[in-house]
């Protein structure tokens, strides 16, 4: 994590690293690495915890506005009594969660009941380590960063099982099984949609993937992966799988109120529930961050003229846009049933992701085509993406159509 010595970056760009160095430069060399790592951990955690608080508020406000009502706009600041358009609502929610009684069922496995939210949160936070937040802001530079990200994400599924099992509640267990089935089903499209990115970029390292998206076509069009046929399809598959992996609507069967109370979270109250909630939002942020890195060009600016805006601002803008789309989708679509979920994953997304891999391979092999052949390359790749999508979609929704009602 050091700025290149040849051409120094502008001040705003250098600011976070400069601040960190100002804090730790007085330490001896051997301790500096540890202090830098700790500082970056603290910074990431503070930023995403604040983002979590604001996201809960933003979600409620956005859902409210879509539903023709204001969101929460009443919670005042504690001793000032000043209403702030709802900005103090996360504070009020936090105080409520902290002061609630922590109820553990009598026959529950106390150790596992306590460990489940802890493990979930730990693994969710670990996934933040490999996302490049800016040009010089990558907490851990790993050669196999993408693999690390998905490994840490897969370990979160274990915590959901622990939560369902430890509650000593057959409905929690059933819901935990369903949640696991959903998570396992959508691991496959998630990973398969990322493989073409690795194929094209030639590396598993997130910083290399972001740098490979740094060129501009004809000087103005960004060459992000989402602007290629396989990248667009891959992004959509990744996005749907990310929705399902973070248990967000329309795949929020595990934790919907009308489904077995709260699913595997039924026996959790107070702060542990808040931790589960936090882990879900962290998962959402981490997957959005990875989506931005892999498909939307990471911290790259869309036009070279806008390069003066610091890279972490671009990353933040793209991340917030993706999170807004998460909420927009939650406000729009009804929930999927468990059999509809799993059918969507196995019968629709997995075949499309495999075809997308093939399309990306064709794209890489035809990289040398130029002139009119470049146009043909786009047409062939586009056909390879759209054709199977339409064909598979038509075939899967063959018997279904607008309902016709016959009244007696």
């Amino acid at each position: 994590m050091s700025a290149p010595a040849a051409n120094p970056l502008p001040l705003l760009e250098r600011l976070p690293v400069a601040l960190r160095d100002a804090c730790t430069n007085w330490l001896p060399e051997s301790w500096r690495w540890l202090a830098n790592s700790l500082l970056s951990i603290v910074a990431v955690f503070v930023v995403f915890a604040t983002l979590f608080a604001l996201l809960t508020l933003a979600e409620r406000k956005i859902l409210g506005r879509v539903q023709n009502r204001p969101g929460p706009n009443r919670a005042p600041l504690p001793f000032l009594g000043l209403r702030t358009y709802g900005l103090a609502q996360p504070l009020a929610d936090g105080i409520k969660m902290l002061t609630k009684e922590d109820i553990v069922p009598r026959g529950a496995d106390r150790v596992l009941h306590f460990l489940a939210p802890v493990a979930l949160l730990a693994f969710s936070i670990m996934t933040f380590a490999v996302i490049p937040y800016g040009r010089t802001l990558l907490p851990v530079e790993l050669d196999a960063a993408v693999l690390y990200f998905f490994a840490a994400g897969a370990a979160t599924e274990l915590a959901i099982f622990m939560a369902g099992w430890a509650s000593r509640n057959k409905y929690s267990l059933l819901a935990a099984m369903r949640a696991l089935a959903q998570l396992i089903s959508y691991e496959l499209p998630l990973l398969l949609s990322v493989v073409p990115v690795v194929l094209v970029a030639g590396s598993l390292s997130t910083s290399v993937i972001v740098e490979k998206q740094g060129a501009w076509l004809f000087g103005i069009l960004p060459q992000w992966h989402v602007f290629t046929p396989w990248g667009f399809a891959g992004f959509l598959i990744f996005f749907v799988a990310a929705l399902a992996e973070s248990n967000r609507s329309p795949f929020d069967l595990p934790e919907a109120e009308s489904e077995l109370i709260a699913g595997h979270l039924t026996e959790y109250s107070g702060f542990k529930y808040a931790l589960f909630f936090m882990a879900e939002y962290f998962g959402m942020c981490a997957l959005s961050g990875m989506g931005v890195t892999l498909f939307l060009g990471g911290w790259q600016a869309p036009f070279p003229a806008l390069g003066f805006i610091p890279s972490y601002c671009w990353f933040a803008a793209k991340l917030l846009a993706l999170l807004f789309v998460f909420m927009w989708i939650r406000a729009t679509f009804p929930r999927l049933r468990i059999d509809q979920l799993t059918r969507l994953a196995w019968k629709f997304l997995v075949p499309l992701a495999l075809v997308n891999l093939f399309t990306a391979a064709f794209w890489v092999l035809s990289a040398g085509w130029a002139g009119p052949l470049a146009f043909a390359r786009w047409v062939v790749a586009g056909a390879l993406v759209i054709g199977p999508f339409l064909a598979l979609g038509r075939r899967l929704s063959a018997g279904l159509g607008p309902r016709s009602y016959r009244y007696a």
Partner: protein
């Protein structure tokens, strides 16, 4: 195209989201208690007593303590005690007029049967109180509100009631004048021939049964059909 339904759905929600900032039909929340919706004119909650002069509310109460509303009230939530002077003679005023609004079911029967347009329906709904028994028992002072207030909450109805009362008063005044008028020429008419009915008493003879008949008929008719308002 496959998936176009999903995009249309997203467009609808986006329209709602953007519209909620500038379009009143897409933001239908009334932020109570800072804002309150305008109640329709026909809205009613619990009854109140009308007095005509705010300077003397107790003296100008229209209620004469006839106790018709007490007897007609289905859940029997009205309790009236007539004011009597030292000799026991009934002064036509209520000493006690209590309505228990925890019992009142807002059926408006008391309003319908009142011959004097004394009790009408109020629109006050913020009556929550911490005192379960005493706080929900409204006394004469709480119930007594002015005619101007009645005009504010039920303008059409109040205008009709005022017109009816004015007409009634005019008829009574005319009847009184007619009664006073034949009293004077009566000894003079007795000396004249009894065959010819003088034009002076005949309008009095014609109108005298009418005032006797109209007061009971005039009172219920105007309030019974308030014109429907939007």
């Amino acid at each position: 195209m496959l998936g176009s339904g999903l995009l249309q759905g997203l467009a609808v929600t986006a329209k709602n989201l953007a519209g909620s900032f500038h379009d009143p039909t897409r933001y239908v929340t009334t932020e109570y208690p800072e804002q309150r919706t305008k109640l329709p004119e026909n809205y009613r909650n619990f009854p109140f007593l009308v007095h005509d002069d705010p300077a003397d509310p107790a003296g100008t109460l229209r209620c004469v303590a006839c106790q018709i509303c007490e007897k007609e009230c289905p859940p029997q939530c009205i309790y009236i005690v007539m004011e009597r002077d030292e000799k026991g003679k009934a002064l036509k005023r209520p000493k006690v007029f209590d309505i228990d609004i925890s019992v009142c079911m807002s059926c408006q029967i008391c309003v319908e049967v009142c011959p004097f347009d004394a009790i009408k329906m109020d629109q006050e709904y913020e009556l929550a109180t911490r005192d379960r028994f005493g706080g929900l028992l409204l006394h004469r002072e709480d119930l007594s509100k002015s005619n101007e207030y009645y005009h504010q909450i039920h303008p059409t109805e109040a205008a009709g009631v005022d017109a009816a009362l004015a007409e009634q008063k005019a008829k009574q005044a005319a009847a009184k004048a007619a009664k006073a008028a034949p009293a004077a020429p009566k000894p003079a008419a007795a000396t004249r021939s009894t065959t010819a009915a003088t034009p002076a008493p005949s309008p009095a003879a014609v109108t005298s049964p009418a005032p006797a008949a109209t007061p009971p008929a005039a009172a219920p008719v105007p309030p019974a059909n308030p014109p429907p308002t939007a």
